[in-house]
Amino acid sequence: MLEAQKLAARRGFSKLFAGVSLRVGAGEALIVTGANGTGKTTLLRMLAGLSAPEAGEIQWQGQRVGPFAPELRAAVAFSGHLPALKDELTAEENLASLLALEGSAASRESLTEALDDVALSRQRSLPARVLSQGQRRRIGLARLSLVSRPLWILDEPLAALDAAGAELLTRLLGRHLANGGLAVVATHSALGLPESRVSSLALN
């Protein structure tokens, strides 16, 4: 379970948000909404343990966690708006490299299969440099399908994805939640997840 109490953040001298509390249980997704510049990305980076909150605290499985806490790093799969892809490496090498960094070794077959699932089988051995934005996003989806982390934190996962890609994301998220995973997703569009599993948080 992921909990946070009275989180606050500021950018420069202006307050971004304050008093944000949330609670996400196993099998649940929290959708974070809000206009541009209300601090969705900042909140997600805090929850992922990438930055320290100005005030308030975050608990993972009942235990208080600070930025880069080992408990959190072992649990979180973070996908920010930077794709974390290397232009020089091929789609498959990028995927393998990201998974190895997370400590989840994947066999060649499962890599191939995951890339097939996101409709990148023909682009498997192309350098990421030549892929379109949407195709780069799809490598991120393939990574999510292979990583075994209980807490997914996704920042604008639908950006640059087409309808089929969005559907794919919904399917992955659905499977993740059904397996008892947690997700915090910042998005502007509906994800089509079952109502019972979703709660939402609006920043303003």
């Binding site: 992922a48 880069f68 072992a74 973070f78 020089e88 490496l89 190895a100 997370e102 008892g180």
Partner: protein, 237 residues
């Protein structure tokens, strides 16, 4: 995915070796894919080192005297030129976030990156030094001492430089700031490195200088990866 994945307690003490291996293998692969960039750095080193005999004097005694110092300065500049590559690329494309969020110890991942950086930029400088040194009419012994001093000294440059590179991540004019930050730290390495050849030439023996360089390397090995890892975390915050 197993149904138990969400609540199963995970191991927190991820080992360091796979992390170091991952970082070395990935950075070497990336370096091989952008060979031109490495070639430019090496060419820079060779050209800087070759300018001095042209600009000063063809007199052999004088050249042998200034040679070690010039080659060390060229090595420092070459190292400085390559340092921004160490973290900036990973920072710009988001890989550094994933690296910092990896369950592996960040200092181990950073160590691997530093080792790869030295293998691709420091080691070629060491290997080229005896060749470039021929322009300075240095004798065999002086060349051997120079190469060993560079072999011990250039890893220190990569280690100290990594701290500076991480501290200047995301700043404007980070390149020049990096030079201001790192060059003063390089001074002791320069003094003992160039001094080793001078000591050998005057018959004092280079072992004292080389031992001091070795001690410096050990200290840098122990401290620098942790300092650089902290700086990376600060840069991401």
């Amino acid at each position: 995915m197993a149904a138990t994945l969400a609540l199963a307690p995970e191991r927190h003490d991820a080992p360091a070796w796979p992390a170091i291996r991952w970082a070395i293998a990935r950075d070497l692969k990336l370096a091989l894919r952008s060979r031109a960039e490495l070639g430019v750095q090496l060419l820079f080193y060779v050209i800087v080192a070759s300018l001095f005999p042209l600009a000063t004097t063809p007199e052999r005694g004088m050249l042998a005297l200034i040679g070690p110092g010039v080659l060390w300065v060229a090595a420092l500049l070459a190292s400085l030129l390559s340092l921004p590559r160490l973290f900036a690329g990973d920072y710009a494309d988001g890989t550094l976030e994933q690296i910092a969020l990896s369950p592996y110890p960040l200092a181990a991942l950073v160590s691997g990156k530093i080792i790869a950086h030295w293998l691709t930029t420091g080691l070629p400088v060491v290997l080229l030094a005896p060749l470039v040194g021929l322009q300075y009419a240095m004798d065999g012994e002086a060349l051997a001492v120079l190469a060993s001093a560079l072999l011990i000294g250039t890893p220190i440059l990569s280690l100290l430089g990594a701290i500076g590179a991480a501290l200047t991540l995301g700043l404007r004019a980070s390149g020049s700031l990096l030079a201001l930050l790192v060059l003063p730290l390089y001074v002791p390495v320069l003094i003992f490195g160039a001094g080793a050849v001078e000591a050998a030439r005057t018959g004092l023996g280079a072992s004292a200088h080389l031992s001091l360089l070795g001690a410096g390397l050990l200290v840098a090995c122990v401290g620098a990866p942790f300092a650089a890892a902290s700086a990376v975390r600060i840069a991401l915050d």
